[in-house]
Symmetry: C2
Subunit: 366 residues, 2 copies
């Protein structure tokens, strides 16, 4: 734990602390960071099932489903999309962390086909332990990301806490015809993933100094990138269902799509794009608790695990922070969509076929 | 810290742990609870001033002001109100804590004159330290309160954490003509407070066993009560400005009203309703860190402090969790409004006069 002493100054990367010039590494202040700190999917699901579900004609998507955000009909032309996400640091630099936290929270609105409009911050800050400059840098990074989304940071709530956490409650709007749900996938669609996988294992490796700062850079850039696709209307309409990949990994979120749409997703592990170095850290067994809990959550719903090597399996349950979008796309428009998306997301790839529901919602092969 | 052992059972009040039948007291698991854990107003203000402010014709209230929530114009007839609040336990019983957390978050929508519509939960839970039953009870208490507001719990985000925190991001709607801001108070208005003061000192006393469970009960009931007034239209229009009293105490929030409206608030400490026992715990010096930080925040803006005894001053900066509304009311309609509000809020009182801006935004007298 690093204490502020009034002599803090800012250097090229991040905030440094005091006369010994030791950089503050935010990830060293927490036991686990980012979406890996989510409560395990099984636990959460059990809780959600105990809560009352309410029906209202304007509540189109509530907490009883596994969509990325809630949807409320404001009027016939306007749906409101709402989501919240927050977590402990997954990267060391305060400005990067703010940008990642914002991009991650904004993503749920993009995953529903919407445009983010307003954001409220959720902040827990160790006042007097981390210097105030960390707070200012973090919020500046977040504000930049929110502005890049064309949205507005309109308020928030902040508490003192032992460990730093930051996130956002984001609201967006979408026309009813443009809403993407997890329930619209059709047999014959192809499944497109926009960002490479591996932020969970790489962040874990970096936290424990098993990879250096430069090796973490591609993961940070990927996490900071907004999931904003700006698809033309015809390509937007070619997306039949969507979600984003976060704490429950590619398989956890693909499972929500498969169940929501009553289809089977036939996934080719070798086609899943990985961040540089992620294969190596997975082979070295650098895993988070989420790798195990998500395996437990998805295992009975997945056929073909035996055909994969261990590292390939772990990549499919690697918890992503600010991961890419998973889009179920009309196969006739897939090439056009890939060409459009590739300009901003060079690693975008078709990773699976959507097929008629079989014995398992997910089939994996190498 | 209490560990779950699989033998947890529920009794009359709260969740008890294991064979020794010791009740779990949530407030014993945290160093400070409720709105007392807010970051000091001065610190927060300094941060907000560093953030860019954005202008957009539909963003009517953003983070650069001290209103209770952000306001976004959806169309000419509909404004969206957004707020977020979360905190560590301020009461021991999980169901009570859920209800208080929800009532507190919903309050900011009521303070803007709106009707809450949707809520997203913000949850940090010590998995494996507190039993799952605490989580279920808490969320059930919150769900009841949200349902009583006519709103819907539509989702949320949950992380594992060392200390329990719960809150909500709440969205509501209001017609533009019915929006209450902190900027509408007029000289001649009277200032009405709907709930008695004292949750900060009483919760602090209870946490340290300086008062017993029964002595805390009125404060808990007050914190659980929704700030829903259901005013008829004519009385709603007689409210020229409003806010709610939370972590910055009566004076901190009155200061935001006075500054927002460019008036002076002339406050009579003897007229401020107090919860049973609050005067005594304040006289015994049972204070929180927020009593001091809010004193520091407001002191230079307040005239007349010397005329109050210490306990009276501390009551005016006592941090409230889920405190009452402060309403600046047309004096010609004040009696009618009081009569209407008194049915649900028997301690409602006129505590101040709004006068033309003087040398200090706040004047206090006994």
């Amino acid at each position: 734990m690093v204490r502020g002493n009034g002599m803090v100054g800012s250097r090229r990367r991040g905030v440094r602390c005091g006369i010994v010039d030791t950089p503050i590494r935010l990830t060293k202040t927490v036991s686990k960071g980012g979406c890996a700190a989510k409560i395990a999917a099984g636990t959460l699901r059990a809780l959600l099932e105990t809560l009352p579900t309410h029906a209202h004609p304007d509540l189109l998507v509530g907490h009883d489903l596994f969509d990325d955000a809630a949807v409320w009909r404001v009027n016939d032309d306007t749906l409101m999309i709402q989501t919240i996400d927050f977590f402990t640091p997954v990267v060391d630099d305060p400005r990067d962390f703010g940008a990642v936290a914002a991009a991650n929270a904004l993503s749920d609105v993009y995953a529903m086909g919407g445009t983010p409009t307003t954001a409220l911050s959720v902040l827990a800050f160790p006042v007097g332990i981390l210097p105030d400059e960390v707070l200012a840098e973090m919020m500046a990074g977040a504000a930049d990301a929110i502005a890049a989304a064309g949205a507005f940071l309109v308020g928030g709530h902040s508490i003192e806490d032992d460990t730093l956490k930051l996130g956002f409650s984001v609201t967006g709007f979408v026309h009813p015809d443009r809403l993407w749900r997890n329930s619209g996938a059709r047999a014959g669609d192809v499944l497109v993933l926009t960002k490479p996988i591996g932020t969970g294992t790489l962040a874990g490796a970096r936290k424990n100094d098993e990879i250096d700062e430069a090796s973490m850079a591609p993961a940070i850039e990927s996490m900071k990138q907004l999931n904003r696709l700006d698809l033309p209307s015809d390509l937007h309409a070619a997306v039949h269902a969507a979600t984003d990949v976060t704490g429950f990994g590619l398989l956890g979120h693909a499972l929500h799509l498969a169940r929501g749409s009553n289809v089977t997703i036939d996934l080719r592990a070798d086609d899943v794009p990985l961040l540089p170095g992620a294969r190596e850290t997975l082979e070295r067994g650098i895993l988070t608790k989420a790798h195990t809990s998500t395996t437990h959550y998805v295992d009975e719903h997945v056929a073909g695990r035996g055909g994969l090597d261990a590292a390939a399996w772990w990549s499919l349950v690697d918890p992503q922070t600010s991961g890419g979008l998973l889009l179920c796309v009309d196969p006739a428009r897939a090439d056009d969509l890939l060409a459009h998306v590739r300009e901003a997301f060079p690693h975008v790839a078709v990773v699976a076929d959507v097929v008629a529901a079989g014995a398992h919602p997910i089939v994996v092969r190498s």
